[in-house]
């Protein structure tokens, strides 16, 4: 037996090296972060397009009182003159203090919310002041300004604060859910991409018939596991490269003049516990990937051509996509019962846990989830190995579900 285990390392080495050296891998690994940055910058840029163009709002003011109140801002200009084609028409038919509904904004277009807000706030301010003046109380504005007490609510997490350190870990809800969503999406993407890589790797070996030569020297189980581990390591490598990339960028953010990463973001990323999150990402990726990739390996062994694959892949894909949506839904209420259960069930937990982690998950829950996940990994790998063993040498017709069930009992 002593000669057998090292064979798995040879297989892992090949699976890993051939993929990591591929041009497409290198390009993807370098390009993805750039693409990501490009997309976020691009979105901001796109949102600003059109802001430069001035929009004219024609005011028809029957009272003659309000036009003077309306101030132009950079984008909207108010005018009483007749205009050829105004963006919108503001019609004021009566005293707004007596009848607040005597104003309407008409347009051929869908009116931008900011235009409405602009008009609303200006008219409201004016009307409030007018009303206050009508009470004839001296210094009323000062009194009101005095009585205005601002409560600034900030979410703080119990237990996350280290009592001995004066700097409390503040988990800003927005940063937490943004980071959570990024990681949820990333783990979903990784499981899909690398799961499919396993599917194609197994299918290639089978349709190539090289599998027959390989399993005349290695146990099919070792070949399957070697492939799963090799490809999984490729995924971890890619993630590692990206994390290093982000880490370098965010440390360089402390250097003045770096505009890409404002220091504030780097700070709140540290609050969320980015490194801890990355470690859990790898842990849950390994678990989730092993479960889904072993399904994919079994499917690759069963089918004879890519055309056959759909029937078997669809249920698996639905499961992963469901997990992704469970994660997105969980972002609304990361401590709610849905997110709780979905982060324990092994088929969804790797993805859903990513959204919960930035908010902090109690250790016992985390531990339970990891244990359940890896117990399921062992079970699915075993089942997949059985199907793989029989399927990989079977050519001709694709097996029915009944036959697959029989293979499991061998």
């Amino acid at each position: 037996m002593k000669n057998i285990r090292p064979k798995m390392w040879i297989i892992i080495e090949r699976e890993y090296m051939t993929r990591v050296r591929k041009k497409s891998f290198i390009v993807m690994t370098i390009l993805m972060p750039l693409l990501f940055i490009g997309l976020s910058v691009g979105t901001v840029f796109l949102a600003r397009i059109g802001e430069g163009k001035e929009r004219i709002i024609q005011v028809i003011d029957h009272t003659g009182e309000y036009f003077a109140v309306l101030k132009n801002d950079g984008q909207y200009r108010f005018t009483e003159d007749a205009v050829e084609s105004p963006y919108a028409c503001l019609v004021i038919t009566g005293d707004l203090l007596e009848n607040p509904k005597a104003v309407s904004l008409l347009s051929e277009y869908h009116i931008a919310a900011e235009a409405e807000n602009l008009i609303n706030s200006q008219l409201n301010d004016y009307l409030r002041n007018k009303k206050l003046s009508s009470y004839n109380i001296a210094n009323i504005r000062e009194i009101i300004r005095d009585s205005r007490i601002n409560i600034n609510l900030k979410g703080e997490k119990f237990g996350s604060a280290d009592a001995s350190s004066s700097k409390q870990a503040i988990s800003s809800t927005e940063t937490a859910s943004a980071v959570g969503m990024i990681f949820t999406f990333l783990i979903y993407l990784f499981i899909m991409i690398y799961g499919n890589m396993v599917l194609h790797g197994v299918m290639e070996e089978k349709t190539n018939r090289i599998v027959e030569i390989i399993i005349s020297s290695v146990k099919p189980f070792d070949l399957m596991i070697g492939k799963l581990i090799g490809i999984g390591l490729v995924g971890i490598t890619q993630f590692g490269v990206w994390v290093t990339f982000v880490a370098l960028l965010s440390t360089s953010a402390t250097i003045p003049g770096n505009s890409l990463f404002p220091a504030g973001i780097a700070g709140s990323l540290a609050d969320v516990g980015l490194m801890r999150l990355c470690l859990f990402f790898v842990l849950f990726f390994v678990g989730g990937y092993m479960i889904y990739a072993s399904f994919f390996a079994a499917i690759g062994a069963v089918i004879n051509s890519a055309e056959d694959s759909q029937q078997y892949i669809t249920p698996i894909t639905i499961l992963i996509v469901f997990a992704f949506f469970a994660g997105s839904y969980g972002a609304q209420n990361p401590d709610g019962p849905f997110a709780f259960w979905a982060s324990l069930i092994p088929f969804t937990s790797p993805i859903v846990m990513m959204i919960r982690l930035p908010f902090g998950v109690p250790w016992p829950e985390l531990l339970l989830s990891v244990v359940l996940l890896f117990a399921t990994v062992i079970a699915t790998v075993r089942l997949a190995a059985k199907i793989y063993l029989t399927g990989v040498l079977m050519y001709g017709k694709k097996p029915t579900w009944g036959e697959l069930a029989r293979w499991l009992r061998y």
Binding site: N3, R209, I213, S217, R406
Partner: protein, 321 residues
Amino acid sequence: MHGWVGAPPVTFQNMCFLETIDVVKKYSGHTALDKVSIKVPENSVFGLLGPNGAGKTTLIRIINRITAPDAGAVLFHGIPSQPEDVYRIGYLPEERGLYRKMRAGEQAVYLARLKGLTAKEATARLKELFHRFDIIAWWNRRLEELSKGMQQKVQFITAIAHRPELLIFDEPFSGFDPLNAELIKNEILRLKSEGKTIIFSTHNMASVEELCDEIALIDHAKAVLSGGVAEIRSRFRQDIFRLKTENETLVSDDSLCKIIDRSKYCGAYFFRVKKHPAINNAEFITRIVKDNRILTFEEEIPSMNDVFIQTVNGAKDDEKY
């Protein structure tokens, strides 16, 4: 897992390299092998013959430990096959295939390492073999860039690189042009001269006569015929003789032989006759020579092709009635 049940048989001190004893393999719905026993002598070329789907590949896979038999045993030198035995076997499957995107040399090294060589050993040996097969220039090329013949050479090389004692070639000549087929044939003979044992399955009966010492014919999951090639061919003799005479007529009668065919060529007359089964060869010669001027006299030994067709068709006829 499917080890030998009960005591292994006492094998007499023959030179049997490999033996299968009553190997049975059933797939859902059909029996692929039904108590197949073959004996492959050491340092010989053993032909595994049979029509398509007879069970040859299944037997080869069982010998290779790719699949396990449902019953029966595979013995190497009389000892039940062990997992480590796979390193003693070199295998060229019928359905060829390698990683298309991987470089030829790298790929060969990978497969040799899986057969137990270190990377260094494998590289040295394979470079030598690539030289001998005249494909060293393609060492760093992706497999898909190679012609089909060259791919086959790479595959053949990977089967022999770890210098196994037993080589199993499933249809080794398919896909090779006559030139390369000759190369492979010479390689097989060279391997034999080095003391290796070779099992090869083929449909090319001419190559069986040329290369094989012994054969086994598998038909409908059973080993229906086995033994030495010369012995089997003479076992299938039909008592047909070819005679070359000076005279236009052959003086004989039906109690001696029946004339099947006659022809004239370059002033000589040729007869194919079927000897009466009751008469032995010596008596037949004396009687035929007494009455005729015989120039040559030759018994027609059936080719392996005839043996194959007769055996397989005979089984079909048996099935019908």
